[in-house]
Subunit: 429 residues, 2 copies
Amino acid sequence: MTIVDNSITLSKSELPQKWRNILPLLPTPLGPYRAPDGSDIPPAALGAIFPAQLIDQEFSPSEWVDIPEPVLEAYARWRPTPLVRARSLEAALKVRSKIYFKNESLSPSGSHKSNTALAQAYYNQAAGIARLATETGAGQWGTALSIAARHFNLAIRVYMVKVSLEQKPYRKTIMSLMGAEVLSSPSQLTQAGRAALAQDPQTPGSLGLAISEAVEEAASRPDTNYSLGSVLNHVLLHQTIIGLEVKKQLASIGQKPDYLIACHGGGSNFGGLVCPFVPEVLAGEKIQLLAAEPAACPSLTQGVYGYDYGDMAKLTPLMPMYSLGADFVPPAIHAGGLRYHGASPIVSALIKDGLAKAETVTAMEAFNRAKLFANTEYLVPAPESSHALALTCQKALDLEEAGTPGVLVFVLSGHGLLDLAAYEAAPRP
Amino acid sequence: MTIVDNSITLSKSELPQKWRNILPLLPTPLGPYRAPDGSDIPPAALGAIFPAQLIDQEFSPSEWVDIPEPVLEAYARWRPTPLVRARSLEAALKVRSKIYFKNESLSPSGSHKSNTALAQAYYNQAAGIARLATETGAGQWGTALSIAARHFNLAIRVYMVKVSLEQKPYRKTIMSLMGAEVLSSPSQLTQAGRAALAQDPQTPGSLGLAISEAVEEAASRPDTNYSLGSVLNHVLLHQTIIGLEVKKQLASIGQKPDYLIACHGGGSNFGGLVCPFVPEVLAGEKIQLLAAEPAACPSLTQGVYGYDYGDMAKLTPLMPMYSLGADFVPPAIHAGGLRYHGASPIVSALIKDGLAKAETVTAMEAFNRAKLFANTEYLVPAPESSHALALTCQKALDLEEAGTPGVLVFVLSGHGLLDLAAYEAAPRP
């Protein structure tokens, strides 16, 4: 018999060897980062917490950036990832649209976060840094950076948002297994943490606060740099490996996408998927770039565009982005990776200039579609990824009703095997 | 740059389309199954709990058995699985031997159990059965059969060994997500369960006892059949897909194996790996077929060969196998899938006839090597698979000391992402 192959795979030799930088392509150039007094921050000032090569990438005018060999070798442990046709999901939805998912859950950390974690760890090691400090929400970023730190021989401390640590204790187990030190945030180790605890000892914590703690530590220790899992331009740059592969994969089967959909917390997996397609959108191709954000933390759809801080304690520069306010503490939804008050400046610019759109998804919609996906594709999606999945299902149903089936691609940014507490807590039918 | 590819992959068209049956090749033919009075049990008597096609396979004289199309299609969702060169592990061990692992953790259930689960669910559905009853230890089998039951539209009840359910609560979550009903074993629903609870209300349960419960239920309900995740000949038959792929993969890179290593609980993953290589061993090729069993439950190395029951309540036929006694309750080690008093009749015959060997691994050795594997290959192995890994590491070190590096292949039978409680509980360095 002939066996149907639902996976569109690329060989190791087809792994993209450059990242795509869309900074020089943005119709409205990004404004500079600013200090509280409104003055521009010179890039070199970020040297207290980032290595020079990442700062260069943050503001790079080059359309393409070479991926260093050690990072490519690390990528090749699991990349290129398959683009998979979700035929069983299509059948369950009774739609004629083609639904594809980019399976980023196959990475060492189980999520797309490894794409930038390995790059950041590499550049820090190359710059002679011995130690990293970071934050993590749901734990995907902390896991990815813990593995990357081990790969490039760096020590690491992870501030994990308290509510996520309680919801997902085994995330700490796996990070510890990889050699990381994991703390509950807010902690007593930093001024930002102590201040938050003084104000509300019961605070569930937030990504914005955990960032403050990690940045404070990195800024105060010369051997330690800070590493951020989303938001920044260099993080989105590294994640473009996702969209670059999707582009090759769709081309290999002669398909053009109508919808490219990813969930949006800080913007790295959405940006990673869509940035490589921005030139086509600018050229007038009808590709909808669609961000799925949680109804409980609607930065893009209800936030205000302007300059805001990336963290709660206002230690980061002011950046031009959509934001719900740096002191916004999102409800303790299970999609911990989407609990961020702001948005990536690049994604914000795409939305502002009408090149991309955002829609909200409720936690219940996300859970119901996650269950359908598990029951049809036999993969348990992360709560974050379930938002992209839910919006994709909705768009496929809309297209069906309109009688115009299309091609939809979403990012399965991570698996949910370490998020089963979220499934356990979800309401039963 | 040229990227080193450590994965030996096969295309969908190279997926084996027949299973390998070594029953007709065994030097000493397997004795028949027997009743308590010593009389032979006619195969048809098993019809109360198994469909006819599986009973045929249990005693098949054919060297090859066609894999039905619906099972092949289901396999193709993730098979063929890659055979991966563990170069980073080799480097950490400082050995010149080549170590490969067959990555069965990529299945829908995260373990090799899906190979037989899908086949069994298919044959039951084809026979008009509406419902399955089964047991599960660590939860891998229960997860696999829950997914398979959903795929082939069967209802399913899973008796999960009490101590494993407590150690791994999220296994129940994932089985429930797939639509299964999960009970703690011993339960109050069966005579076997009630008797065990009466004798010791605190019993941790055991695979042998959970089997009794599921068999009792299947035997008493005409709409329900029983499904076993290991031990039986037809289960090993389905698992030969593992060894058949390994054979093709090694051939594709011109390698011959010196050691084929898998962990041994009931024998399905060990049998699945080695059975396809038995003809070569019979022909005099020097391939060591090596079973890694837990020191806490050493059925093959310290058990007695003879006729024994497959379950604690003595509801199954007597089978010729190595056994520690049907009433042996193994200590509550984390490798729940290896807590079985007996052994597959086929594996027992291979050991008895000197074609395969077994060695024990302590829980501590298994954990230490699991940590090394996680820190080098960035995959968290299941506690069961860690036994095979540990024995592989030991043999590679032995070969190094002897100055005779070789080719070692072990089965990564499952990932440990749902077993992180075991890692959390393990002693820290």
